[in-house]
């Protein structure tokens, strides 16, 4: 940067220095450019701060379904975080939710209306409506979730 140092002042025109027109132009450019850069920095920051479409990061609770989507004696698979879950309305009308990942070899279970049990198609595993493994290969019960209703929405959260 030392090459920018001049030992003697250049010929000046006007009291405020070299070619006031040039100087003002440079100042104008500098000003607008600085403002534009500042804007280019502020714009992403403001967008960042505005709430995104998906409001929350983790799903420790999720809206599994609407009340009218789950008739009596039926089940529905829903997404819970990164894993599938199964929502069941029993014959008595009670809502229950479990992890839908079979504890045998990770297949996705389903509700069986005839036996009123949860069934895994892969190797004929059976779970009762408490999630307990009652038949076939599954070695452990299904993890149970908490179910609440909010208006006409069914909210499932970790137990």
């Amino acid at each position: 940067m030392s090459n920018m140092l001049h030992d003697s002042p250049a010929p000046s025109i006007g009291p405020s220095g070299v070619e006031p027109g040039r100087r003002r132009f440079l100042d104008y450019l500098l000003g607008t450019s600085a403002a534009a850069t500042f804007g280019a920095i502020i714009y992403p920051i403001i967008r960042f701060m505005s709430p995104p479409h998906v409001i929350e990061s983790t799903e420790s609770s999720v809206v599994a379904a609407k009340l009218n989507e789950v008739p009596v004696n039926s089940g529905k698979i829903f997404k819970f975080g990164s894993k599938p879950g199964i929502l069941v309305r029993t014959e008595a009308g009670e809502l229950k939710a479990f992890s839908a990942v079979c504890t045998h070899l990770d297949c996705i279970v389903q509700y069986q209306a005839e036996t009123k049990n949860i069934w895994c198609a892969c190797h004929n595993g059976h779970y009762n409506l408490n999630g307990k493994n009652i038949g076939g290969p599954p070695p452990r019960p299904l993890e149970e979730f908490k179910v609440n209703t909010r208006g006409d929405e069914i909210v499932v959260s970790k137990a």
Binding site: R47, F48, S57, T58
Partner: protein, 354 residues
């Protein structure tokens, strides 16, 4: 005219004219080593970037083991320009530590710690350790596999120090193991404790620099030096550097986005080839190379104690190398500095290559 009226209004209440007067009077010597003067300001600028991006990240980050990883994933995928803010934060941290090293070594070799600037040096060393702690605590916050194990190893090493090691480990980890408690604690350090301490020491450091002015290296002291005004000449040059730094950060964020990795699993075994971040690598590599036993004592403990000792030595440099006139002492310290720098560089490279 309105500007002048505003200035008068403020000055009547806050005495800003004394501040701006002092700022206008500040001068920076011009010589062949002047380039190093820019690195302190650059480090400060990058620190400001960290504070701004850090505060923005705080709007979405969640400091618990169940949510941390997902919240960072959320920032990077769902939040508008979240990817940019997050990557800039991670890259700027590394750039800041790099410029900090350059600043530290340039100040050392140019003897800017000679009297009366001893306290500036000491406060600077404190800031250096604060920044290292920033890096260590911040690294854990995404709660991914790499960070989890890096923290495990790092705190394990701290625990090896005799007598105080174990209580220190428990203090850092919030328990005996690295758990969600560690994460929450590190978060507290990273966003509250360390920023507060950093602010205090930064204020001291920067004020002292203004008080004493820019130091002139012994090798150019004899010359009759040109001086450039801080405002506007030096500051504008600073500004070019800062603007270019913004460009570099933007490029790094867009072209080399910071990885997210996989969520930490405390029960899974450590992945092979775990390495800490580059600024810890030379110490890590040294410990790997030390023999198990040295003179009957545990090699690793000795290595860690040695590093701690060197860290303490760093504080007392201005009190040991006191005489500007002593050529031999200057030479000795220069050699020490070069050896230290070479050691760090070589060990870092070895750490990466192996």
């Amino acid at each position: 005219m309105r500007l002048k009226a505003m200035q008068d209004w403020l000055d009547e209440r806050l005495s800003i004219k004394t501040l701006s007067g002092a700022a206008r009077k500040k001068e920076v010597p011009v010589h062949r080593h002047s380039i190093w003067y820019y690195f302190g300001g650059m480090t400060l600028f990058l620190f400001v970037v960290q504070v701004v991006t850090g505060i923005l990240l705080l709007l979405y980050y969640r400091p618990s083991a169940e949510n941390a990883f997902e919240s960072v994933q959320f920032i990077v995928t769902e939040v508008q320009f979240g990817w940019l803010i997050r990557s800039v934060h991670s890259w700027s941290a590394n750039l800041m530590i790099a410029t900090l090293f350059i600043h530290l070594f340039s100040v050392f070799f140019l003897r800017a710690y000679y009297r009366p600037r001893e306290m500036t040096w000491v406060s600077g060393v404190v800031l250096f350790f604060i920044v290292i702690c920033f890096g260590f605590s911040g690294y854990l916050l995404p709660w991914n596999k790499l960070a989890f194990f890096a923290t495990k190893v790092g705190t394990e090493i701290a625990g090896v120090i005799p007598v105080i090691g174990r209580p220190m480990l428990r203090f850092l980890r919030g328990g005996d193991d690295v758990t969600g408690a560690t994460l929450t604690r590190f978060f507290g350090f990273h966003v509250a404790v360390l920023p507060a301490t950093a602010t205090v020491f930064l204020a001291i450091h920067v004020l002292l620099v203004q008080l004493h002015g820019m130091s002139v290296p012994p090798s150019v002291q004899k010359q009759n030096l040109r001086k450039m005004k801080f405002i506007p000449n030096f500051l504008l040059r600073d500004l070019i550097g800062w603007i270019l730094a913004i460009g570099v950060l933007a490029a790094l964020a867009a072209l080399f986005p910071w990885e997210l990795g996989e969520k930490a699993d405390p029960f899974a075994p450590a992945p092979a080839g775990i390495k800490p971040e580059w600024y810890f690598l030379f110490m890590f590599q040294t410990l790997k190379l030390l023999p198990a036993k040295i003179l009957g004592m545990d090699g690793e403990v000795l290595g860690i104690m040695a590093f701690n000792f060197v860290a303490l030595l760093l504080f007392i440099v201005p009190f040991v190398d006191r005489e500007p006139g002593n050529q031999r002492r200057r030479l000795v310290f220069n050699i020490i500095g070069v050896v230290a720098l070479a050691y760090i560089v070589v060990m870092t490279i070895v750490g990466y290559v192996t």
